[in-house]
């Protein structure tokens, strides 16, 4: 049972285009929503994150949009570049956990940006 659902599973975009990855969550106890970027042969690395009381967070070409009422959030990559080709994971973090499962990941999106 996936607590954080991510789509699409794969995405192909032309250079200069906009890449959009969507996520939805169920647990209202989550209090931070990070995105991770993973290149082949590497572990995930933190890319950008947003609090649930903020509707948008922008860092360079990367923007998170957050809709608390719909329990959905998305990552937008503007002016996508071939170097952005990677797997992207949305995640949800709970600061209060009795099980140690503080960080819950979505299924992942494999992004390919064609030159």
């Amino acid at each position: 049972q996936q607590q954080v659902k991510q789509s699409p599973q794969s995405l192909i975009v032309q250079k200069g285009g906009i890449s959009i990855i969507n996520c939805a969550y169920e647990n209202t106890a989550f209090d931070y929503f990070p995105w991770y970027q993973q290149f082949p042969g590497k572990g995930p690395a933190l890319l950008i994150a947003i609090r649930p009381d903020v509707s948008e967070k922008k860092e360079g070409r990367f923007t998170i949009s957050f809709n608390k009422s719909a329990k959905q959030f998305s990552l937008h990559i503007m002016d996508s570049q071939p170097g952005d080709s990677a797997t992207y994971f949305c995640a949800a973090y709970s600061g209060v956990s009795t099980s140690g499962s503080r960080l819950t990941f979505g299924e992942g999106t494999q992004l390919t940006v064609n030159p």
Partner: protein
């Protein structure tokens, strides 16, 4: 170089064999984690340790065991490997008091059970 070292990088293992995946960190982080990554399922938590001497079960613990004898090392053992344990395994750590921003991941171990 500060970070997490995982070994081996990759391994092909016969079903039924015992295997230990090694994870060492030099950042003196209190908490450590083992995740498995499978296509279409993302990263799922196997076991965790909030501090040396303590461990806990994550989302998919069956078939795996861990130990945390000291702060730096957090080995993951497959007692009798099965093909469904074919996956990429990531070790992660987090310093005490750090929140969502504090996770550091290793580069992973690709395990194939045949």
């Amino acid at each position: 170089i500060a970070g997490i070292t995982q070994a081996p990088t990759s391994q092909i293992l016969a079903a039924g064999r015992r295997m230990t995946l090694r994870c060492t960190q030099d950042m003196r982080h209190n908490a450590m984690y083992w995740y498995r990554q499978d296509l279409g399922l993302g990263l799922r938590l196997i076991h965790y340790s909030n501090t040396a001497g303590t461990t806990g079960k994550g989302e998919v613990p069956d078939g795996y065991s861990v130990s945390r004898a000291n702060t730096d090392d957090f080995p993951l053992t497959l007692a009798s490997a099965v093909p469904s344990q074919t996956s990429v395994y990531f070790c992660a750590s987090r310093p005490q008091g750090a929140g969502w921003y504090g996770y550091t991941f290793g580069s992973g171990t690709r395990l194939t059970v045949v």
